[in-house]
Symmetry: none
Subunit: 185 residues, 4 copies
Amino acid sequence: MPESPRTRTSARIQDAAWEIFSERGLPGVTMEAIAIRAGVAKTTVYRRWPTKSAILIDALKERLAPLVKFPQEGTVRDDVVAQIEAVIDLFGSRTGRAYLALIAESVHDPDVGTALRERYIADQREAAILRLRIGIDHGELASRTDPEILIDSLYGALYYRVLVAHVPLDRAYATRLVDSIWPVA
Amino acid sequence: MPESPRTRTSARIQDAAWEIFSERGLPGVTMEAIAIRAGVAKTTVYRRWPTKSAILIDALKERLAPLVKFPQEGTVRDDVVAQIEAVIDLFGSRTGRAYLALIAESVHDPDVGTALRERYIADQREAAILRLRIGIDHGELASRTDPEILIDSLYGALYYRVLVAHVPLDRAYATRLVDSIWPVA
Amino acid sequence: MPESPRTRTSARIQDAAWEIFSERGLPGVTMEAIAIRAGVAKTTVYRRWPTKSAILIDALKERLAPLVKFPQEGTVRDDVVAQIEAVIDLFGSRTGRAYLALIAESVHDPDVGTALRERYIADQREAAILRLRIGIDHGELASRTDPEILIDSLYGALYYRVLVAHVPLDRAYATRLVDSIWPVA
Amino acid sequence: MPESPRTRTSARIQDAAWEIFSERGLPGVTMEAIAIRAGVAKTTVYRRWPTKSAILIDALKERLAPLVKFPQEGTVRDDVVAQIEAVIDLFGSRTGRAYLALIAESVHDPDVGTALRERYIADQREAAILRLRIGIDHGELASRTDPEILIDSLYGALYYRVLVAHVPLDRAYATRLVDSIWPVA
DNA sequence: CATTAATCGAGACGGTACGTCAGGTCTTTCT
DNA sequence: AGAAAGACCTGACGTACCGTCTCGATTAATG
């Protein structure tokens, strides 16, 4: 791990962006404020990232692990419940709020959408679908199950409650959700 | 219908906002641009709406009917499929894009969220849940069905594909979706 | 004289520009610094003047009187000497330095040149030539005298010493100069 | 003439500066642009000249000969007219414009003024004054003639028309000028 | 001949200023 | 009096150059 000055500067910028987001939300995150907080010239920021969103997307790299990883430890059903609980936890955290703010941003800015999908969402979907397929192969799920749609429904319900309906979302919801729409084998 | 000058001005402002949205998307919609396009002073706009989002929300009033109404013409299942198809159609239209853009905006601006929910989303959820309850009462749906969660899953899947996963969404998806997660009676 | 707020703001901007020029010279005069010093938004400055030079040109309006006026009190020769002394005095003053700095600026910026000529230089030349013509009519100057060229030589010598040769220029020079090239009647 | 790589690089830089000046004027000449055009690192430029003006001053070395040389071939009067014509020609050329641009620059930057005077202007004045003195010695000019002031007036008129009054200046002006202010012997 | 020293290119860096845009507020003007 | 018009301050935008700096990669001269 070389810890070059370049690396350090990039880290300072990402940290600054993250701090400002924590304090003032996405609208408060401006290139100007990031540069000042990081003790860096504005040009230096622009030299490395084209937009504030890009900085935050990078800053989320490690923190978004729970979104992407998918447990494979028990039955499919248990694993799915566990994963949904993890996502619910995430959505309740500051990291989750940042992630959701960027999702919102992606509606206006295609680049943000592309970056998010390439970095997190695509992997997440793949991991989830893969887990379901294994479940089907093991006979835990009906063979006629459409994994893609099951994922849409499960994750969709979460995003929907948080982004659209603004309805409370707690860990207990995970079981209720899975119980409700689980395809009987 | 009085058609007072005040009414006319408000209409001009809403039309201007809508036109600009159509041409340049939500980021292009600024109070400044609206005022110019409507041929009106910026103060006049501010006197009637606090934000550009508020203008658009009002401008959507009539156009968002398909989101809110829920058919009650055939079996629950048929009605649900029909409604989902209507929403998919909406999401493909300019009106739908405006609506989704406002959903995104609501992540940063609580007022937008509140307005959207009070005006459209709450009614939509209620109408949907009501329809499902009738279905349960008629024995078309298992009595243990949780209507709220079913709605979360159905609508959620749509929003998820459009807002998050950016995956194609066509009318055919409606049947696939309902087939997949429909609770057997 | 209404002393409207608009007038006051403009005065504050001009004063600020002038102060900064006095302290740091023309390169130190930036739109940014003017706005700050005047306690005014940068946009307000831009709304009224397109460039810093334009502000200074306006700020010189009253101060540049000695450049433009031409005495008509004694003989032509005495009046010419008096006027040249006035210009020499001017060149030694802060106002003169500002004026010369703008002359220099005009080499790069045609607008500055045009403004300076329309406001000051043209009038100055006219007044001078007029005075000489009167002298010719009164028989104080040879009838074959070319007033334009005489003015070029007299004023030219001053500008040349100050701008080009950087050679000392004091009041005594006025007499020496006139004595040297005065066309005998 | 060794034509070392060092020499070649310096030449490339000067050429680049000159080309850019020709295309975009002095404001377009930036250290950055020079370095790029010369295919050289910015550091290399800075290592050899402190400012862009210094580069241009050096680049003018050979081209400014007509400003400095003074003919001594006919009568003083003829030589003076010839020299003034040469300067008028120069002022009409690209080289002249560069020279005048640097004169203007010298108002803000003392170093430029010093360099110009040490390299060109002082020599020019000396040569001119010398020529006049010879004329006085030969009885071609009145002994009471003040050569310095005569030079101020003659050259001054030219600079004045070009820099200040922005009045046309052609070869014919040379004779008119000399005829007007020539001190009768 | 090998090593040292100088010089080069490349380009990142902290800065300053640019000129513009939009946000909201506040004053003036008119009806 | 009450609405419309538009000037105003604020703050962020993204860009251009500034002059300094570190970093290897070449060259050149020296030991």
